[in-house]
Symmetry: C2
Subunit: 588 residues, 2 copies
Amino acid sequence: MSSLLWKVIVLVTIIAPVIGYNNPCCSYPCENNGVCMTKGDSYSCDCANLDFHGKHCEIPTFTKKIKLFLKPNFETLHNLLTSYKWLWNIVNKVPFLSNYVMKKVYTIRSDMIDSPPTYTSEHEYITKEAYFNYSVYTRTLPPVPKDCPTPMGVWGKKELPPAEDIVKAFFVRKEFLPEPIGTSVLFPYFAQHFTHMFFKTDLKKGPQFQWGGHGVDASNVYGKDRDSENNLRSFKDGKLKSQMINGEEWPPLTSDAQVPMGYPKGMEKSQQYAMGHSFFGLLPGLFMYGAVWLREHNRVCDILKAEHPEWDDERLYQTAKLVIIGETIQIVIVDYVKHLSNYNFDLIFNPELLFDEQFQYQNRIALEFNHLYHWHPLMPDEFNITGTIYALKDFMFHPEIVVKHGLSDFVDSLSKQRAGMFGPHNHGPYTVPVVAELIKHGRTLRLQSFNQYRKRFDMKPYKSFEALTGEKKMAKQLENFYGDIDAVEFYVGLIMEKRRANSVFGDSMVQIGAPYSVKGLMANPICSPKYWKPSTFGGEVGFNIVKSSSIRKLFCDNIKGKCPLVSFRVPDYVEGDVDQFLKQKLEL
Amino acid sequence: MSSLLWKVIVLVTIIAPVIGYNNPCCSYPCENNGVCMTKGDSYSCDCANLDFHGKHCEIPTFTKKIKLFLKPNFETLHNLLTSYKWLWNIVNKVPFLSNYVMKKVYTIRSDMIDSPPTYTSEHEYITKEAYFNYSVYTRTLPPVPKDCPTPMGVWGKKELPPAEDIVKAFFVRKEFLPEPIGTSVLFPYFAQHFTHMFFKTDLKKGPQFQWGGHGVDASNVYGKDRDSENNLRSFKDGKLKSQMINGEEWPPLTSDAQVPMGYPKGMEKSQQYAMGHSFFGLLPGLFMYGAVWLREHNRVCDILKAEHPEWDDERLYQTAKLVIIGETIQIVIVDYVKHLSNYNFDLIFNPELLFDEQFQYQNRIALEFNHLYHWHPLMPDEFNITGTIYALKDFMFHPEIVVKHGLSDFVDSLSKQRAGMFGPHNHGPYTVPVVAELIKHGRTLRLQSFNQYRKRFDMKPYKSFEALTGEKKMAKQLENFYGDIDAVEFYVGLIMEKRRANSVFGDSMVQIGAPYSVKGLMANPICSPKYWKPSTFGGEVGFNIVKSSSIRKLFCDNIKGKCPLVSFRVPDYVEGDVDQFLKQKLEL
């Protein structure tokens, strides 16, 4: 016998049983969300309750086949929704059509999310924990089994390239790249202030742990627990504590409302404002949103009290809070997601469209949702507030800037300043460590590859690095790092993916992010039939505040005098105005 | 002017505004679950999303009118289900028919429960807390507003009779009253061991607080938290720690598994067994169930390991746990609820029947469910274990009795001994303080009246005390206590209600309890389409263990040698055998 054959025999008969069984599920052989289960060295795909069968759940049922045939692909849908303005002008004006389209948006998006949740970061299979343990983020795809040949299963190298190298090669901003569809800085701050109510990683316990309420609970306004809430409340007429400065209403100081805030040591006491989220005093943009919601809450209390003079403080407070949650969802859909989608279709918030659908009114924040929502490239390096330029370092930890300029001038300025492009080479210096850590967390928690997530969310996996980036230079670099397109990491893929025409993001961010977003918004309990009625919001008055809310109203109802510019798009935007510039810069 | 008129004017113009507004919602004017909302001194009923309209939501829609006309009342349904044995023999054998009936049972029952949950014990209106606060029991009906004229709204006296007086007059057992449909003592212990996994009141914080997982999570077997779980696990082949005594497998001692158990001081260390629930060592009946589930878990692990030699301890453990949860639900439906219902229809556990329904896979334990599940009258005063008679005081705190007799003899004996009748004059001495406290909690938490719950669960409110009790003597006494039939308390009403023919309980216990029960069982995540598949349970082997489980198999698969009697009904039961005796005793 040759020595090679001897070696193989030794390996197979002696070493392999010591190492253990090979895990055939590492190559993810089951298609269409079939569940791979090992049995000794072999495996089977569980296709139960899917519209597919066959050894690998690869064969669609007859009905599914027809559905797949009729289903337009998402590129076609996206093009349809972002073009044909004349068509959408009609649809937007005919409630029957508009409701039909919106219902489709709700159901198609939210059907992508498993509810009840199925996985956690701890096990690569279903466990009791997935539903009953609220202290962890859920997982849409389970972690890569620990016994797989490579971190991504079977693809790529045995070890991933150092996260710092990836960040350095692809993420670091050399020159500010402006956002191509004219997004204003008001937008990323909205994203940040909104998502901070449910992205609450409990890093002391580990990156898979969280301590939030898994949804839109307005905890960024009202505080993280009962104790904080009580300290923020005035206990009079339902209102939150506030103070008047220069004739405007602002959050109280921590000396008047003892809540834990994340201020650095040595920060002046007179600038330590108390807010629902410990982070909201650190960035003026977040402070601005915190302040406007505070004003809105107190304004709603006044309206409810006029309607219900018999109500006590508690009822006014609790009901105003439900109105604020409703307004938040309304604004997120009609203004925020509308801008993000760049659709010509006017998105609407109408929970009644789901009343006759199979829809689960429960939500769990997914780790993947948290990861994909790291949109730091949208943040500029400096801020122009009515002509005064603040470098980021002079902006951070200075909430008093907002007070000094006043809410009107501040929001006007953020609306006029352009945000940064989401994509490569656009992470500012302060956000670089954050993103490096994010990538490391993804590795610790064994996130599946970017292409696996593409498949999970009904997209075709990329076949080449060039197909991913849409160019050659970065594609080549990426290939050097990862070796295999199927080994590209989740967040790296999202950043490096070529942008859709007329869009803030590439395909994957939208196809993966929108389902989490729509599900999270519409699965809120206030959208369920027992909640979505006038009495929940203090009667028609409160219900109408929810239904007519907008980002513009939110500010202008709470600013005395002339209404400033309140817009997620800068006023001087012209379609395609920076396309050439970006093309040139990214090719450098 | 007369002095009386003066008094009235003074009262109305001076005192009333000081006291505040009268709350017109105290008389619960809105029908059919319409929501009453005050507006100054007046009110309105919010009928949104109901099948009723009108000032008091009293007018059904046309479709609803037809449905109501066609809908058989529950007495008719109950009679149908408990008679016509020949008919049900056919239905039980034809899957199409059997599935149809079972689907109706699932949907009609669970539709009665608001999901997502709507109220807590803190507010008489919808708040954000109702969904987002997991640390309290939910409430099906909100508490009576604090500003109402009487504890029940507008009915009855300003003060309720002392709880002790009620207990003394109606609850205290003078002589043991046997259960009329032949229920064995195996049954109440099943009830107790099962419900203790989700009735976990956090009395230190208050009777509205709880620390459980709001559902069937098998925490009574595996421990209340990760720390307890880890202490109970052997970390070998997925198994739980155990010890062999007399050739049988029993729970380990707390010296070998450090988990908090509720043993009294001075109890011998050699009898301090460690189990998933701190209470399970205190009563031999609970100890027996704890022991059999321990054996079953370890037995399932062996089967799974044979099927999956490649699985590690963790996967065997987690998967066996899901099998145990599945078995629990199966046994509860096919054996436990089947006995309780006394239907001739064989109840089945088939989650697939709900896959095309609008069904919420989420559950919240209601305070009312906890209150109604106080079934202490079923417990006898003494226990006959193969001829040895143990008084309750010699039985409590003596888990070693089970070990001494062995599992086979113990379960055999419990199956042969008759449980007590649920109803008046049948609370044993040890349970009297528990029920007195329960009534006080109901008052602290301002539970609405028994008749309000009747209406909420689609029953007509009782018009007289005699209609409630079905006799005159207790009815008269009750009237003296409460003054008004609409002021009878929730738990008191459940105990005092006349029993249905051929049934363990009166109408209300079944009509109110069954919805909570069915909802809680079928809303478990394992019943949802992404969970209910072979791979979740380790393949067809594990799936079949779940689907073929029964109370008899549970014991006999885990007892060496001859299978003892395992039955929720005593073997010597003859229909109606104690009816005369009970009639006579209750008239005394």
